[in-house]
């Protein structure tokens, strides 16, 4: 295998794991999913087009594999042993612990197609076009899923307007650059 390809695959692993965890909701199963994805990808490395986006290629393989093999077992044992939270060593200090946990739970309650669209666009840094390619759907579909995901998250977290942020929240939002 070409050294540049090997490096590109390795470089994609951290975000591939983050995406897998968001799909599975369980670190151990997510890592198994990543492992199977890498084995598949490396066995088919000849079908990777040099010069194209390695991450997008790997995300597509992972997402398809998840859909065909993992989805039926999806989240059934979600973090039953608390390992997900445990893995998150540096709980974001700027967010309250309770709120952070609340967000994680709410994210897990989203329909799978909305969650993956939101994560791909909102966290993985893919464009709407790239996310549409990874999910095998139209760009407009991704946009609408992302919008619905955000609205649903806000509902689940009972954030329905700026009034719902208490004084502490507002202060933190401003300090984090989220306010004016």
């Amino acid at each position: 295998m070409d050294e540049a390809v090997r490096k590109a695959v390795l470089g994609a692993v951290p975000s591939l794991r983050a995406f897998a965890i968001s799909l599975c909701g369980n670190v151990d199963r997510a890592d198994d999913l990543v492992q199977e994805t890498l084995l598949r990808a490396l066995a088919n490395i000849d079908s990777f087009q040099p010069g194209t986006n390695m991450s997008a290629w790997l995300f597509t393989i992972l997402r398809n594999h998840f859909r065909s093999e993992y989805r039926k077992r999806r989240r059934e044992v979600e973090d039953s042993d608390g390992r997900y939270a445990e893995t998150l060593k540096s709980q974001p200090d700027q967010l309250g612990h309770v709120e952070f946990n609340e967000f994680r739970v709410a994210l897990g309650q989203l329909p799978a197609d909305q969650r993956e669209a939101l994560v791909l666009v909102g966290a993985s840094g893919f464009s709407y076009e790239e996310a549409a390619h990874i999910c095998g759907c139209a760009v407009g579909t991704i946009k609408s899923r992302v919008n619905r995901a955000r609205t649903r998250l806000a509902e689940l977290m009972s954030i329905e307007g700026t009034d719902d942020f208490g004084p502490d929240e507002q202060t933190r939002a401003v300090m984090a650059g989220g306010g004016e």
């Binding site: 295998m1 050294e3 090997r6 695959v9 390795l10 692993v13 951290p14 975000s15 794991r17 983050a18 965890i21 968001s22 890592d31 990543v34 492992q35 890498l38 084995l39 490396l42 066995a43 490395i45 893995t87 998150l88 060593k89 540096s90 709980q91 974001p92 700027q94 967010l95 709120e99 952070f100 967000f103 994680r104 994210l107 939101l118 994560v119 909102g122 966290a123 993985s124 955000r150 609205t151 998250l153 806000a154 509902e155 954030i159 329905e160 307007g161 700026t162 009034d163 719902d164 942020f165 939002a173 984090a176 989220g178 306010g179």
Partner: protein
């Protein structure tokens, strides 16, 4: 019938569009969650796996 009670709730009960502040906050939380995993780097099991793989035509399988 609109009552005082439903009027009081109307602002928050069905958000047609989230404020930018709420969207920014949700985005921040999502990225925190995601980046926390990304910052863990590549676990050894995957480094080993990728280095071990001997793809046909590869002469430096290591």
């Amino acid at each position: 019938m609109e009552t005082a009670e439903t009027r009081n709730r109307k602002d928050g009960s069905r958000p047609a569009k989230l404020s930018r502040e709420v969207q920014a906050r949700l985005g921040q939380q999502l990225r925190s969650l995601y980046d926390d995993v990304v910052n863990q780097g590549v676990p050894d099991r995957f480094t080993d796996l990728i280095n071990r793989i001997n793809v046909p035509g590869n002469q430096d399988g290591q």
